[in-house]
Symmetry: C2
Subunit: 366 residues, 2 copies
């Protein structure tokens, strides 16, 4: 197989060994006479797969016993609604950090449900910075502060997952399992699986058990986090394939050395790209403040001002010829973006930076 170098911002590259295990078992799951796709979600075999994934998440992320681990559907997008429905009480408020597209999306939904306010706004900087704890407005009577650890479009990352005197909720969709989680600082940690740990269709929600004590008593069943907590996410048919595949990916992460190894790999690989940018004498230019540069999504422009659109198009075309795929920046910001998630081989990153160096050398106007 001629494997592409896939820098897609999501869904993510998965290790070939994980894909091969899925292929091997998808027709007949471990000699059971049927596919896992065909099994009852109440069967013993699926039950083991389901709880294996939950157990591995607890182990890899070092999740304390005080947290439930939920395996849900609907993406982080559905959590944008479910979290205020469950946690934002009448007469109370929640502060939202607008660090980019995703933070703004979470705030928009919360505003439709309860009293949400902007605790910090990155708009003034064009979403190229992130706040420190002291930058946030924490109002009296706040139920929680919501942050986004990494913004895929702006390519910014919270360098410090700081604590506050009030509960916090964090969307870690795009740097899930690339860094340790300081559990004491959070009541809810959530994210879609499809960037760093599995296929689309699964959303993981870690929720502190006591955080649901004040939840409204009569939420619709699927929208009630306590229902999923009580049933180990088996209140209805779960997304079984994605849960199975995520379990295999978690086994792979453990083989690689766990979350510390993923963290080190993110440092190393994002560093390879940023070093190439910074060594290019201004040919490549990252708009993001150095201390908040994302370790999963590197964004950059080519040459002066807002970017040389023709040269960027040439870069993308030549990259594609080398099977360096999905490097186009998000349509809302343009430019170039490389997304480097856990499953991408380092050899793909090396191929990218080799090409970047060559392209800069050939196309510089000096």
């Amino acid at each position: 197989m001629n494997r592409a170098h896939n820098f897609c911002s999501g869904p993510c590259t998965l290790p070939v060994s994980v894909l091969e295990r899925l292929a091997a078992d998808i027709v007949d799951y471990q000699g059971s006479g049927m596919s896992l796709l065909e099994m009852s979600h109440r069967s013993d075999i699926y039950d083991r797969v389901h709880h294996h994934t939950i157990d591995l998440l607890r182990r890899v992320c070092a999740v304390p016993d005080e947290f439930n681990i939920l395996l849900l559907q609907g993406g982080a997008s559905l959590q944008f609604a479910m979290i205020p429905m469950n946690l934002l009480g009448p007469g109370r408020s929640a502060g939202y950090v607008l660090s980019g597209t995703w933070g703004k999306g979470a705030y928009a939904d919360a505003s439709r449900i309860g009293e949400a306010y902007v605790a910090w706004d990155g708009n003034d900087s064009g979403f190229t910075t992130m706040p420190a704890a002291s930058d946030l407005e924490v109002r009296p009577g706040v139920d929680y502060i919501h942050t986004t650890s990494n913004e895929t479009i702006g390519g910014v990352r919270m360098p410090d997952l700081f604590g506050l005197d009030v509960p916090q909720v964090i969307d870690m969709s795009s740097d899930f399992l690339t860094r340790p989680i300081p559990w004491d600082n959070y009541d809810v940690v959530y994210g879609g699986a499809q960037k760093n740990l599995g296929p689309a269709g699964l959303t993981i929600v870690f929720v502190r058990k006591t955080a649901l004590d004040q939840a409204p008593p009569d939420l619709p069943k699927y929208l009630d986090l306590a229902v999923h907590a009580k049933t180990d996410s088996l209140a209805n048919t779960p997304p079984m394939f994605s849960i199975w595949a995520t379990g295999l990916m978690l086994e792979w992460i453990i083989e690689q050395g766990g979350i510390e190894a993923m963290n080190a790999a993110a440092d190393l690989r994002s560093g390879m790209v940023y070093d190439t940018i910074d060594a290019s004498d201004g040919f490549y230019r990252s708009p993001v403040a150095v201390d908040v540069r994302s370790k999963c999504n590197m964004v950059w422009r080519i040459a002066d001002g807002p970017g040389d659109i023709d040269l960027e198009a040439k870069f993308l075309a030549e990259a594609e010829d080398l099977s360096l795929l999905n490097l186009k920046g998000h349509r809302s910001v343009g430019g170039i973006r490389s997304s480097i998630y856990n499953g991408l081989p380092t050899s793909s990153v090396q191929a990218l930076v080799d090409f970047m160096t060559e392209f800069a050398s050939t196309n510089s106007k000096q």
Copy 2:
């Protein structure tokens, strides 16, 4: 491979040819250099897969242009909440038919959201019957009447998908694509994919375009059916694997002769089981009125009264020895249940009825 006979009530048996196509392409999708699981949901290749599934649904179900086809997550359970959120206006009401566990679930969620009432209640008959149109209470000011075409636990089915003078919403999760849909009678037709047409993780919602005209303007994004309608269900990352697999299953359904062939197969195969029950001189006994017997889920007891629990246990054990699996009735009602969905081979049904006949002959007390 020693393929089991899988009578699971859901997820469903899939044709081996569909599973083999998934296995063949899961590592490297059609020579693209990556798995479909790893692709951007904005990529050309995935876009074709996504719209292929939508197009096949339109073709197989003969969906009129007046309907949007949505590919969502969260199961029918999430639709229990989303439908009243979108369709049940302030000062209006919605009538719910309580035909069993699923109808009751839909009603419970609607009651949490707006003014829902019981339009018909099967509780008096132990959920062994279904209503005719004239049995329903249709109140003035009703936004819609909600029915469930087939109840998996009670094994009852609406024989006639009747029209009313008001809009209707129908949950077809468990007999989806086993019968034609009379579109004029409905504003919304919905169901999980995992019983008759694909793996878990995908919910299909057919919604009449005009039905969303009066929807509240400011629903949370994922909960807003109009958002999904406007974006062809690409507002966020969709459950790509389940959508791909469902497309392959739809191709298989077309090869078999489409929905007419599935309808005929459901008649034939459910008939094989009911004929065996009815020919057993009372050894097997179906609690369900003949005209509303489900063609997907056949429930029966063994011998007198509420059922001979020891003999039922013996039946299940001997069946399992023959790889006739998942025949135990739902824990809430006991007894035996065979679920026969589109993907199950007729040879499995033959193996079941052969065993039933043999078991009755050996264990009758005559």
